[in-house]
Structure formats: C-alpha cells, structure tokens
C-alpha cells in the first residue's frame, strides 16, 4: 500500500515517545551514571571510567550467570515455540471448543508472577506437592530444592507451563487468518501434511512467530520473580539467572557500580541478539 508521506504523523507518535522516553531514558541514564562511578556509601561518588565494565567482562561470576541464562533462554525457546505451534495446529478452527480452549489456555498468562512461583514451589514439593509427591511415589528421586538437575527441570517446566500459551495464542491468530484457498490449493497439488506446514503455515505465521520469539526471548532474559520465588537461585547458585545475580549484587551487596555495568552489558547483549534476529526475519520483506 502506498502510504502518504506526512511528517505531521510525528505528532501522533509524540505521546508514545514522551511516555516511553520518560520511562526508558531517565532510568537508563541513571544506570549509565552508576556504571562509571565508584561509591563508598553515604552518596559519595567518584569517577571510575570503564573499570566496572572491564571487571565485569572478566569476572567468572558474570560468565557463569550469562551461560546459565543462555542455557535457560535457549531451552525454553526450543521447547515453547515448536510446542506452541504444534498445539495451535491441533486446535479446533471453529465452534464452542475454540473459546473454551482459548480461555483455559490463557489462564497461566493471567496469574501474577510471584503466584506462579509460589504455586510451583508448592506443587513440586516432594512431600506435600502433587507433582513432587507423585514423582517420588513413582520411584523417582525428585527434590528440586536439593538437586541441581531437578531444580532446572522444575524451572524449565514452570516456564513452559507459564508461557507456551502466549506462543499458542499468537500462532493460532496467525493460523486462522490463512485463507482456505491455500489449503485447497495444497490438497490439489498433492502436498503432504508436512509440506503444508513448511510451505504455507509457517511462512504465513512468520510475522506472528517473529513477535512471539522476540517477546519470549526478551522476557526470558529478564525473568526474575518466578525463579526467585521457586528456587531462590539455588540449590547453591545453580539456578541463579542474570537478573537474580544482578539483584544480589545491587541490593544484596549494594555494589551499584558493577551491577549497573553488568546490566548495561547484558542489555546490549539482548539488543544485539534481538536486532540480528529481527533483521534476519524481516530481510526478505521488501523483495
């Protein structure tokens, strides 16, 4: 569609800009400010240049939490996106069941994050939780508060439980907007079920899936409340994801400088990865 060039359109965007800039830029500047200063408490700050950045980049602690974060984000994307698409594909297309499915599936999305954490915390407890008890009764030695593997398993399972529905909702919305003629043409061309998915459904869902993946990627990198309530980062530091670590440094030890530097680095990491992903996904848009 050929849209009219109109610079006055900026006036329409202005409220959004002001609002988002106010919320984004002022705190960002504060963080940048912390990241280049040294403090010994009492609100006394000294210029420290890029020391914190070099320190953080060299620190093993940062490397360890970044690695944990990558593993976590990678795993949940690998599970939630295909699973979400699969469920969306298997959903009914019309009738009362659609509404029922959608309403039920959206429920995890609408529960406050600390409640999600608390819910799973109890649900998975080996003695009084349904899941923990059943697993142990089935002969599995399951205890997420003590064993690292079990903690990770529970953490990822919780995230899958919590967020797969978002992918389902978006993918489903994308699927229903594919005109019937495409399916008919594919049938006539003798396409297999797999070919229909590969050449019709996935390409048509590309836009929604891009957004779904971006949202899940960004949000999972920022995840804090649920794992803190579930495992508190333990056992040990085994499930201390980036945000948890940051809060420990910033509020636990009150090392504002390193925490700020670390968060900026990690902000840049997300930005870079998202941008690459975004650029690749929209590369062929204007052909």
């Amino acid at each position: 569609m050929n849209k009219a060039v109109n610079q006055k359109a900026w006036f329409f965007v202005l409220p959004v800009l002001v609002l988002v800039a106010f919320n984004a830029i002022v705190p960002l500047m504060t963080v940048v400010n912390y990241s280049v200063q040294e403090t010994f408490g009492n609100n006394q700050f000294f210029w420290s240049g890029l020391t914190w950045f070099t320190d953080v980049l060299r620190s093993e602690r940062f490397h360890a939490s970044l690695t944990r974060q990558m593993i976590f984000t990678g795993s949940i994307l690998l599970i939630e996106v295909p699973l979400g698409v699969l469920i969306a594909l298997a959903m009914p297309r019309k009738g009362i069941w659609v509404s029922i499915c959608l309403v039920l599936m959206a429920m995890p999305l609408l529960i406050p994050w600390n409640v999600v954490g608390a819910m799973w915390n109890i649900f998975a407890l080996p003695n009084i939780g349904l899941m923990g008890k059943v697993l142990n009764d089935l002969g599995f030695d399951y205890n997420y508060t003590r064993q690292v593997g079990d903690a990770w398993f529970t953490l990822i399972l919780m995230d899958v439980w919590h967020w797969t529905s978002l992918v389902v909702l978006l993918a489903y919305a994308g699927l229903v907007s594919i005109p019937d003629a495409y399916y008919q043409a594919a049938k006539i061309d003798g396409a297999s079920r797999w070919a229909v998915l590969r050449f019709i459904q996935l390409p048509k869902m590309k836009r929604v899936l891009t957004i779904a993946i971006l949202l899940r990627f960004m949000d999972s990198f920022n995840i804090y409340t649920e794992p803190v309530v579930l495992t508190g980062g333990g056992p040990g530091n085994s499930t201390t994801l980036l945000s948890i670590d940051l809060v420990k440094i910033a509020l636990g030890q009150f090392d504002l400088g390193p925490a700020a530097a670390m968060s900026l680095i990690y902000f840049l990491v997300i930005l870079l990865l998202s941008w690459i992903f975004y650029a690749v996904m929209t590369r062929n848009e204007e052909w």
Binding site: V16, W113, F123
Partner: protein, 266 residues
Amino acid sequence: MKRTSWLVPTIYILFLMLPIYWLISMSFKTTNEILGNFTLWPQHFTLANYRTIFTDPTWYMGYVNSISYVTLNTVISVTVALPAAYAFSRYRFLGDKHLFFWLLTNRMAPAAVFALPFFQLYSAIGLFDTYLAVALAHTLFNVPLAVWILEGFMSGVPRQLDETAYVDGYSFPRFFTRIFIPNIKAGIGVAAFFCFMFSWVELLLAKTLTSVAAKPIAATMTKTASSSGYELGLLAAAGTLTIIPGAIVIYFVRNYIAKGFALGRV
C-alpha cells in the same frame, strides 16, 4: 492425524490445569491439612481462608489497588497507542521503520536492575506510592505491544473510509472516535487484553513503586508469607482470587482472538 488431533490441546490443558487445581484445592484446606498428610482433595473443606481475605482490609485493598493501577495502565497504554498506531498504519514519516524496533527494545530493559532508578525517578516527581506511578511505569512494556497489535488491525481498514468521512464533513477527532474506533474495536479488545495481562502479572516494579496506599495484592502475599510464617491456605486462596479478573477479561476477548487478528509490521 485429524482424528487424534484433539488429544494435543486436551493433554496440554490438563497439564495447565493441574497446578491450578492444586492451588485451588489448597485454598479450601486448613494449614494443618496442607502440611500434614498428602490429600488429593480437601478432606476438611473450609472457607476460612477466603473469609480472612474478604474481611481484612490489608488483603482486599490489595485487590482494589491492583485492579486500579492495571485499569489505569490499560487505559493510558491503549489511549496513547491509538494515535501512534494510526500514524504507523497510514503515513510514512522520517524514521518510522526504526521507531518501532526502538519501542520494542524497551521490553529488554531488565526490570530487576531498573527498579532502583525507577524508584528514584518516581520519588523525585512525587508520584511514589500512587496508582499513577505503577500505571505509568508499566506503559514502558505495554505501549509498544499495544501499538503493534493496533497497527495490524488498523491496516485492515481501507484508507478510503477515512477519506469518505472527511468528505462527509467529519473532523479528524470526530471521525476517529465515531467511525474509526468502532471499526477496530476487536483490535482494541485484544490490545487491552495484553496490556491488562502484562500489568496484572508484573510484580517487581509494582512492588518497588508502592509502599502502603497503592500496594498490589501480589506484594501483600509475599509480605504475609514471610511475616506470619507459611499460611499456605491463605496464600492459595489469595492466589486463586488473582486468577479471576484475568479470566473475566479473556472471556470478553475470546472471539477476537478466535477470529485471528490481522498482524502488523514486524
């Protein structure tokens, strides 16, 4: 494949419902029953937990607070997103392509780190512990999403409709409110749903920006959990109650999502 495909969503929904069932069943149990022996359903059915919540102001005010700032946030987010989405869907202007990605990057700011600067910012402008503070803070991640959803719906409305209205004598504001908005009400519903959802479930910023007057229900729960030991039944009841507003909202927008939405720029 076709005949068994209903199994997939069914199993998935069962999986979703199990922890929720456990939460609800706990809310009807006494603390003793929860901590005592393992029971699949409440043996000593009690409404005491709910009674506590509905009679104690520190509990039920938490709900009032949460619903207040979430509603405020939804209204603000959708209101400012509407003109912006209109601009994206109807015009080309300097920087329009990058603007959208920039908006989206604001979701990347780790709330855990930004909580402290946010606290300082909103204290400085005297909004600390108000609904408005939380509502404004949450626009950071809700507005970009609302713009994206609304733009998709708006692009589905032909531009000739705008022109026809101007020709008929409608001023822009009158056209926008009387004609355009009714035509994208599905989009507004979906956008409002997502704004409501993300604002309702967020805790970190909401907790940081409030102390008493605007404290969200979720924060009340963490306080109770730590101060009075594990009153698990009470916690479960409070948790159960947090699901209800969201369930009501999704019920109203289910048809819009079921019809699928036109998807905007990516």
